[in-house]
């Protein structure tokens, strides 16, 4: 205990000293040097508080682990198995409730927030395949999201394709992009993939920015075409799904159209999430899934067992990209426009943070991670508007702290400790 307090105080002092030259010292070519003390003190205070919370969390976790271990031990001693059917029921009721929410008068802002969360959850669950199951870090996942969104946008707006063809096309385009990037990178040590995907994410953003004639550049796709035009060429099913879009958006009163679109996109996103969860769950149980877990634990051993590691990794990587691509359709339809800044590096890190927070390998975890990281700042911003500006700082700190304190994440299963 005393040892921990000393360490915490040392860390606080170190933070203060490190903050001084960077955050507090200002040099100005007309006024010379000034020192603003506040940031240094705030930094030190944050480290003190954060560190204390961390220590408390570690302590709580230690006790909690003991509790779960004891429970599991008694379970196995008395031969009790916690029922699986009950879980399925809970899940069904949960999905039904979420689906019913808009009908029960969920406010528009909430519908939108939940919808976005579900999109992120879909992406995070998909990303779970590469990061959680195969143990490969992807730092440019936003690019696959972008590829999906832009493919969909371009196909519908510029080519006038039917929604139901453009939608899967978005996923396929993202998956194929994954193939192109994955082929060279996946043959190598896993961390190359992190850098290659990072670079890829940036490259995609630059292509979108620079090829203005096609993508609209920094301005939104569809540029100067009327908002809502993504929703037009949808075919019969699509028109049914997005009725307001079948009629020219301008003749409606904007507010009511948006509410309708929100609600329908909400259901669409929910269906997408449920299907995604089901697919990833099945994948995890499949042969490929087991190969992936083997790969995460020990790549060399997996190779020796006759697993074609590159191919399995490629499958995982493409499956991840596929879900990101499909999820890209939702914001395109919902917002009616997309722009490159939605898909920057921060977004990619946000996805990783969701997976990491929730727990590597846990589908439930990814959904909870998405919900926490997307909804919490948005809700807090109602009271403290500056929360949104600091959230990436917070996400970064959370990722690092999580790795040090609880690398398996909130919902991750107990992973082998100690061994390299």
């Amino acid at each position: 205990m005393r040892d921990r307090i000393v360490r915490l105080l040392v860390a606080t002092l170190a933070a203060f000293l490190l903050a001084l030259p960077v955050a507090s010292l200002r040099g100005n070519s007309s006024t010379g040097f000034t020192i603003v003390w506040t940031p240094a003190f705030v930094t030190a205070a944050m480290v003190l508080v954060g560190g204390a919370i961390l220590f408390a969390a570690v302590e709580a976790q230690r006790r909690g682990t003991a509790f779960w271990d004891a429970r599991a031990a008694t379970d196995s001693a008395v031969g009790r198995r916690r029922p699986c059917a009950a879980q399925a029921w809970t899940l069904g009721v949960l999905v039904a409730t979420v689906a019913a929410l808009p009908l029960l008068g969920l406010p528009g802002a909430w519908t939108k927030l939940l919808l976005e969360t579900m999109v992120f959850a879909t992406i995070a669950v998909g990303l779970q395949i590469t990061i959680g199951m195969a143990g490969l870090l992807v730092l440019g996942h936003a690019a696959f999201w972008a590829v999906g969104a832009y493919t969909f946008g371009l196909l519908t707006v510029h080519q006038g394709w039917n929604f139901w063809i453009a939608f899967p096309a978005a996923g396929v385009a993202a998956a194929l992009t994954g193939l192109v990037i994955g082929l060279p990178a996946l043959r190598l040590r896993g961390d190359y993939l992190a850098v290659v995907t990072l670079g890829f994410g940036e490259a995609v953003r630059w292509v979108i920015k620079n090829e203005q004639d096609v993508t609209g550049g920094d301005a939104n796709l569809p540029g100067n075409i009327v908002p809502g035009s993504f929703r037009k060429p949808m075919g019969a099913l699509g028109e049914w799904l997005w009725q307001p879009a079948a009629v020219d958006g301008r003749t409606f009163e904007p507010g009511t159209v948006q509410a309708l679109i929100d609600r329908e996109c909400y259901w669409f996103a929910l269906v997408l999430l449920v299907v995604c969860v089901a697919c990833v769950h099945l994948l995890a149980k499949s042969r490929v899934g087991r190969a992936l877990f083997a790969l995460r634990e020990d790549e060399t051993a997996a190779k020796c067992m006759g697993i074609d590691t590159t191919r399995v990794k490629l499958v995982a990587f493409m499956a991840s990209a596929l879900w990101a691509g499909l999820a890209g359709v939702v914001p395109a339809v919902h917002r009616g426009s997309i722009n490159p800044e939605m898909f920057d590096f921060n977004t990619s890190v946000l996805f990783v943070a969701m997976v990491v927070l929730g727990g590597l390998g846990s589908i439930t975890g990814s959904i909870v991670g998405a919900a926490l990281l997307w909804m919490l700042p948005a809700l807090l911003a109602n009271w403290f508007p500056e929360v949104q500006e600091y959230r990436y700082l917070f996400f970064g700190a959370l990722m690092a702290a999580m790795m040090v304190v609880r690398p398996e994440g909130l919902f991750g299963g107990a992973r082998r400790k100690g061994a390299a």
Partner: protein
């Protein structure tokens, strides 16, 4: 064309000293230190702030630009080295021996924190080096020398001289000194290094301190080159320097130097041939190409290791 090559060479010198930091850390820990670019950015901020402050207090008028630049570089070096040391202690050391994904994610986290921290405390807009100050104009702002078709700015020469001196110094350090040899031994077999009595933790700390100090110098030079320091400068230059390290063969010190220079030149050629629009993308394309054609890099793995 020649002019572009020259510019690329100078730029490449900067990449090279940043790449050294990546390569040294990777050599020992097999970890891509994603926070390295941010350490560079912090060095750049410290350096530019020092320069600006010197200009503001009148010190620059009194002693001239070069002493102020030296002070800025020394200040930046100390601050960055402290950051490098602290990052290793706080995040990487507890994660040593964990599955390789954990330190990588931790590194991303640190990088996010630092980038956003500087953005919040220093503002999202860049801070500028006092490049119009009379002292600067008198020393480095003098007109360029024209050698044939190439026009060489005094700043270019300063950058090149500093880069070459640093690379030579590091080379001597790694090859000749006790700590340098310990570093090489540690990068080849960490456990065995401990078994011959090398304090591995100390070696790793020294590696981070040296790498960060080099990054700080690169950061200040880069800031002078671009006349400004911005919170996201570490991100882009980090990516390029890492490419340079991979190009030369990651974990390989001479490789990083060679890779840096080659990348700078290749980028210059790319800009010349294909335009500056995709300046930020060339390094990525080169990275992919290297990974496809020769993933070990140019100088990687000269000796096959017996198991």
């Amino acid at each position: 064309m020649l002019q572009n090559l020259w510019n690329g060479l100078v730029q490449g010198g900067i990449y090279a000293i940043v790449a050294l930091g990546y390569t040294m850390v990777y050599g020992i820990l097999l970890l891509i230190n994603f926070a390295h670019g941010e350490v560079l950015m912090i060095g750049a901020y410290t350096g530019v702030a020092t320069l600006a402050g010197c200009a503001g207090t009148g010190a620059m008028e009194a002693v001239g630009f070069m002493p102020c630049l030296a002070m800025a570089i020394i200040g930046a070096t100390c601050v960055s080295a402290a950051y490098g040391f602290a990052i290793e202690r706080a995040v990487y050391r507890p994660l040593r021996g964990a599955p390789s994904l954990s330190p990588l994610i931790g590194a991303i986290g640190v990088s996010m924190v630092l980038q956003n921290y500087v953005m919040r405390t220093q503002g999202a807009s860049p801070i500028y080096a006092p490049m119009s100050h009379p002292a600067y104009v008198a020393s480095l702002g003098a007109s360029n020398w024209d050698i044939g078709p190439v026009s060489i700015a005094p700043l270019d020469l300063v950058v090149l001289v500093v880069c070459v001196a640093l690379m030579a110094g590091l080379w001597m350090f790694v090859q000749r000194t006790r700590t340098g040899t310990a570093m090489r031994a540690t990068s080849q077999d960490r456990v065995m290094a401990g078994l011959v009595g090398i304090d591995v933790n100390r070696v790793i700390s020294v590696t981070f301190v040296i790498g960060s100090a080099l990054a700080a110098v690169a950061g200040v030079l880069l800031a002078l080159f671009n006349t400004q320091a911005k919170y996201d400068m570490g991100f882009t230059s980090g990516m390029k320097a890492f490419t340079a390290a991979v190009l030369g063969g990651i974990g390989n010190v001479p490789g990083a130097m060679l890779g840096g220079v080659l990348l700078g030149v290749a980028e210059a050629v790319g800009i010349q041939l294909l335009g500056a629009e995709y300046k930020e993308v060339y390094s990525f394309v080169i990275l992919l190409a290297v990974l496809i054609v020769r993933p070990k890099g140019i100088l990687g793995e000269r000796v096959a290791e017996k198991v």
